[in-house]
């Protein structure tokens, strides 16, 4: 009998329509997998079996009725990062300061998923307020990477990435402010896209940095990622930054055949930005990228080395703009209207206690940075300066796309997944994990990460970056690359340690991290 969790979302969709499988059976198989694997992986902060099965039954009724124009995700399970509001459920954003908070309404994307009939299984672990590149900054413990349980899955959407990589769900939702979808997708060997700024409404999503945050999908193949983006994208008047730009239905009709997909690469003009092969990049990961570029050229794409000269300024610019916006957004967590209220009664003392104890170290660090960058006397030197450099970073991209490049090809991450604790002592080392992804957020552009091979047994991601609103083109290129590599042995390889993840005798990720920290201290 087929293991239902190994199917791709579009394969599930086909079987649901043919009556070969029910949405309830799919939900049960995935809930079982999620519950069995959560001890060793800690990918989920909540699994709602009762709600998921009710949604699945409703989807089965719609499927039986052969609802005309039904979306391909009708009846297909999905996981949501725990910063997406689902009415009546928790929404911790990975923080103690939202412990016990119950979302009083659905996010726009939750409404969309309900309307297409996708089945929400639960909420996934994440770095607190989406601040982090390893998921080690979650107040609810780290998440393990199923390719090597002693390594991180990346972050901040580490739980959403692992839920998909470990076959707990075929699809999940993440958010990406500086790389938080693409980097964990790369480190766990799956597909993840950060859409154009404004593509998906953020109504009902916990905010981090409002000029950078964007919602996007994770999936195990390109067609599935495109279908999930299709389901959630589009204008919503409750988010004034969501753009009135049409969402093409062609997202649901990417080439099914590998040959057709590969033929779409012919004549495409791709830029290879030399600054993305950063100092400190792992040489073997670099070889995977170079081999991928050679394969694209072999399929008829025209690849030219290009320059994005302000790339080196991206990190400093990002770590002014994002903390500044975060310090303002996170001012609302004061223990007055929601969340725990700590302290002994006077208003200032309550603020200090609630925020001092409610936020974790990385969030406090960023609030401090942002508050400083916006404070009297420093606003022009830091914040305005960073916004001006942001203009230069954006112009670098604009210049290339005006020259007619269809997309840029680059690494997603300078390294493969690293061990627990490897970067926790040095915030700047952690921040460098996003050197290849955060300029894309600064420029508001779409970027996709797709698996391109293994380095010493760990997944490597290839990043494709396009002009604003070019998601369909990026998916076509990514689908072409997928077709090109369809025969590669790594494409059929399951995460190396997936078999250990259902063993209740295995340590939890927190225990593994503690053991590694202990070993490091000796």
């Amino acid at each position: 009998m087929t293991d239902l969790t190994r199917l791709l979302a579009h394969e599930m969709s086909d079987r649901l329509r043919s009556g070969e499988v029910s949405s309830r059976a799919l939900a049960e198989a995935h809930l079982d997998a999620a519950e069995a694997g959560n001890h060793a992986l800690n990918a989920w902060l909540s699994i709602d079996r009762e709600s998921a099965l009710a949604q699945a039954d409703a989807a089965d009724a719609r499927l039986t009725g052969r609802e005309p124009g039904a979306h391909p995700l009708l009846g297909v399970p999905v996981a949501l990062k725990d910063l997406v509001s689902v009415k009546g459920g928790q929404c911790t954003a990975g923080s103690r300061i939202l412990e016990g908070y119950i979302a009083p309404f659905d996010a726009h994307i939750t409404e969309r998923l309900r309307s297409v009939g996708a089945v929400i299984l639960g909420k996934t672990n994440m770095d607190e307020f989406a601040m982090g590149s390893s998921n080690e900054h979650s107040a609810y413990g780290p998440v393990a990477n199923p390719w090597d349980l002693e390594t991180v899955p990346g972050g901040s959407s580490g739980g959403s990435a692992v839920a998909v990589a470990a076959y707990h769900a075929p699809l999940s939702i993440g958010t990406d402010t500086g790389g938080s979808i693409r980097q964990p997708a790369a480190l766990t060997g799956i597909v993840g896209i950060k859409p154009t700024y404004g593509r998906v409404s953020r109504y009902g999503i916990v905010a981090f940095a409002s000029s950078l945050d964007q919602i996007g999908p994770f999936a195990r193949d390109v067609r599935d990622a495109a279908a999930l983006l299709h389901a959630v994208a589009g204008r919503d008047e409750r988010d004034s930054t969501s753009a009135p730009v049409p969402v093409p239905d062609e997202l649901l009709h990417l080439p099914t055949g590998d040959d057709e997909a590969v033929s779409g690469l012919r004549g495409k003009r791709l830029g290879l930005p030399r600054e993305y092969f950063v100092a400190g990049m792992d040489p073997d990961s670099r070889r995977r990228i170079e081999e991928s570029v050679a394969a694209l050229e072999g399929a008829g794409a025209i690849v030219e080395e290009v320059s994005l000269p302000h790339t080196d300024y991206g990190l400093a610019t990002y770590y002014i703009v994002a903390p500044a916006e975060a310090s303002a957004n996170l001012a609302r967590y004061d223990g007055v209207r929601f969340g725990p209220r700590l302290g002994d009664g006077d208003v200032l003392g309550n603020y200090l206690a609630t925020r001092g104890r409610g936020f974790g170290p990385e969030v406090k660090r960023r609030i401090m940075l942002g508050t400083y960058a916006l404070s009297a006397g420093y606003y022009d030197a830091f914040y305005v300066k960073a916004q001006k450099v942001r203009t230069l970073i954006k112009q670098d991209f604009d210049t290339l796309f005006e020259q007619g490049f269809d997309a840029l090809v680059a690494p997603t991450s300078p390294t493969v997944a690293f061990r627990f604790g490897a970067k926790m002592a040095d915030p700047v080392a952690m921040y460098l994990s996003d050197a290849c992804t955060l300029p894309v957020n600064m420029a508001g552009l779409p970027g996709i990460s797709i698996p391109c091979g293994l380095s010493e047994g760990m997944p490597v991601g290839l990043q494709l970056i396009g002009p604003a609103w070019s998601e369909l083109e990026l998916f076509r290129l990514a689908r072409g690359f997928e077709g090109l590599t369809a025969g590669a042995s790594w494409r059929r390889q399951e995460p190396t340690q997936i078999g250990l993840t259902t063993d209740p005798a295995e340590p939890t990720p927190a225990e593994r991290a503690a053991a590694l920290a202990g070993a490091r201290a000796h």
Binding site: I320, G335, V336, V347, L352, M368, A381, K388, T391
Partner: protein, 98 residues
């Protein structure tokens, strides 16, 4: 660029309404200065003639019809409040009783 002193860190923590322990303040002093060192790189760039970017997509103000639509009830809006009474959130007094 001058570094942050311990009293600067305490001042910023106060502005941010973060109650930090002495240990946290000490750790942050070192970490924030290390991060601020990275910022000095931006001084290499002459940006006098460059306009700042606050948002990346060219959206003008988008207006909607001013029509009342359903929203949360008072009970729903108060559902997460640490303390509520009579349809209001209860908070400590902000003004002293003098």
């Amino acid at each position: 660029m001058p570094g942050l002193s311990r009293s600067d860190v305490e001042h910023v923590a106060h502005l941010a309404r973060l109650g930090l322990t002495a240990e946290e303040l000490g750790l942050l002093e070192g970490q924030l200065n290390h991060i601020l060192d990275q910022y000095t790189k931006l001084a290499e760039l002459d940006t006098d003639a460059i306009a700042p970017t606050a948002q990346t997509i060219e959206l003008e103000n988008i207006l909607r019809e001013d029509i009342v639509t359903p929203s949360l009830t008072v009970e729903e809006a108060l559902g997460n409040a640490p303390a509520a009474a009579g349809g209001y959130i209860v908070s400590p007094p902000i003004l002293s009783g003098e």
